[in-house]
């Protein structure tokens, strides 16, 4: 079956909106890494009084869908109050682009992560909000909720690919995935899960087993 980008994706890739860096931003966040093939930085300026995002920019190291999703989420967030902008989902962003190929859905997740990350930083640093980032099954599951299985473009929790989440007293984590050992996405999933779980500052060793 032909895999192709929608016209909307191509449009945003060719002429992306809000490209660049904001000098002295109110908040910024970077998600992904060049090693994974995509990295996105989102910069924000927020109006203190109204909490409206008055300026948003991004810089991307990534493929066409990475650039296009970054362009669309910055469009969607611009002019919204941060509480509303936080609610934008990766699914909405993908829909706004007329859809993304399953293998590219993770780009939309990355874009939303970067946006939410920037907002969270704003809330932390400018509004003094405190976040509980402790390690537990729910918080791990929440992270895994954002890991997309490239074959079908759906997250691994919804697909019930996660069979077990274990945390021991040393904060070592065991994730059991119901996946064939020859699955071509297994390395990508392992990489993605590890990267996400490493966001927990106190996490120990991460073991991912295929069952």
């Amino acid at each position: 079956m032909a895999i192709k980008y929608t016209k909307k994706v191509i449009e945003h890739f060719q002429n992306p909106h809000n490209v660049g860096k904001i000098e002295n931003p109110d908040a910024m966040a970077t998600e992904g890494s060049p090693a994974c093939g995509d990295q996105l930085s989102v910069y924000l300026k927020v109006d203190k009084k109204s909490q409206i995002i008055k300026e948003i920019k991004f810089q991307s190291y990534g493929c066409a869908s990475n650039i296009a999703t970054a362009s669309i989420i910055t469009d969607m967030a611009l002019g919204k109050i941060i509480e509303e902008a936080k609610k934008i989902t990766w699914k909405q962003a993908a829909d706004k682009l007329g859809g993304l190929p399953p293998i590219k859905m993770h780009c939309s997740v990355l874009a939303i992560d970067a946006l939410r990350g920037a907002i969270k930083n704003y809330e932390k640093n400018k509004l003094g909000k405190k976040f509980d980032e402790s390690l537990n099954k729910q918080s791990i599951e929440k992270q895994l909720n954002e890991v997309i299985y490239g074959k079908v473009g759906v997250d691994i929790i919804s697909l019930r690919l996660v069979k077990y989440i274990g945390i021991d007293e040393k904060n070592n984590v065991l994730i059991e995935l119901s996946l064939n050992k020859e699955d071509q996405f297994k390395d990508d999933l392992k990489h993605e899960i590890t990267e996400r779980l490493n966001r927990f500052p106190k996490i120990g060793k991460i073991k991912i087993a295929l069952v």
């Binding site: 493929c63 066409a64 293998i103 071509q184």
Partner: protein, 391 residues
Amino acid sequence: MKKNGVYLDNCKTSKLAPEVLDEMIPYLKGKFWYPGAFTSIGTEIAEAIDDSQKTIADVLNAKPKEIIFTSGGTDANNIAIKGLMRANKNVGKHFITSTISHPAVLAIFQALEKEGYEGTYISANRDGYLNLEELKNAIRKDTVLVAFTHINHILGTIQKIEKIKNILAKANHKIYLFLDSCEAFAKIPIDVKMFGIDILSISAHKFNGPKGIGALFLKKGTKIVPIQHGITRLHHLKPGSVNVPAIIGMQKAVQLAFENFEEQISKLRKLQNLLHNTISERILDVKLNGPPLGERSPTHLNFSFSFVEGEAIMLMLDFEKIYVETGSACYSQGLKPNYILMQTGRTHEESHSSIRFTLDRFVTKEGILRTVNVLEKVIKELRRRSPFGEN
């Protein structure tokens, strides 16, 4: 090809030469018969096939009977590798290949491993040359086959076959040498006798011939069993219908590739140099992947463009009708960077930002210059968008 298009992905597949199509048409229209004995129409086709075998055999320094037509490179590789391993399992079940072999070859070995065969995968250095010390050490009493890719399809590295031959000659028992020469054939001279090759595969669509046709050189006396079964028309290793038009087309493609061979290669080298030099002069922070220019396949160039990602480069070139290939994970089926670039010591970033350019007889100087003009703009624009581009 779209108007003004520049096709630089010839390693994936190449354009059918018009002369090849002209040669095929009579066999697609009127001369639809099968090769056969005694009848006038059967004989005419049989003679045409004999002639095609001879054409291929001559350029390889082989005998016409040692040429078997297949349905392409993958088909040829399967017939050769599986047929040879199965035929010699009383001698042993061990094979040696490389971590940077072509994926079509690696897939066959992975399938054989499930059948109980055992493999050793030797590594390659940064330029893509096989580690021949590892080859020496990998040889065992039960080693039946050594199988390598002749020219690496990603890096353009030409393996030193005579050195491999010398290593195998020192073994205490016969070890067969198989080469996947699909990328090498028509790019470099191949002499199967001089190189000590037992089996070699080629594929017509890699050198401006038709798709769905390839050939095996099988040295007389090689112990092999068929992996496909049916009615033998030309050879028992490849039963079934004979794709006569494609065989005729392949013959013509071979003739075109080998007439004034040196001259054609020298023209390709000039274009390769032009592409290499103009990219190096006009775009900063680029790295050539693979061996030095003069050592590599005359049709291959592979560059990594720092701070940007390959699929984005490839698509922006595509918008301008310039067609290339990338080693980026974003373009792969399993979201993994190209394994050959990784196995030969590139970082993830270098693999993600790699672009392969592969030339053929239809590439022109104008096409190369247009490519670099567009590429320069594309890289500049993508670096403007990149968080790393401003450094």
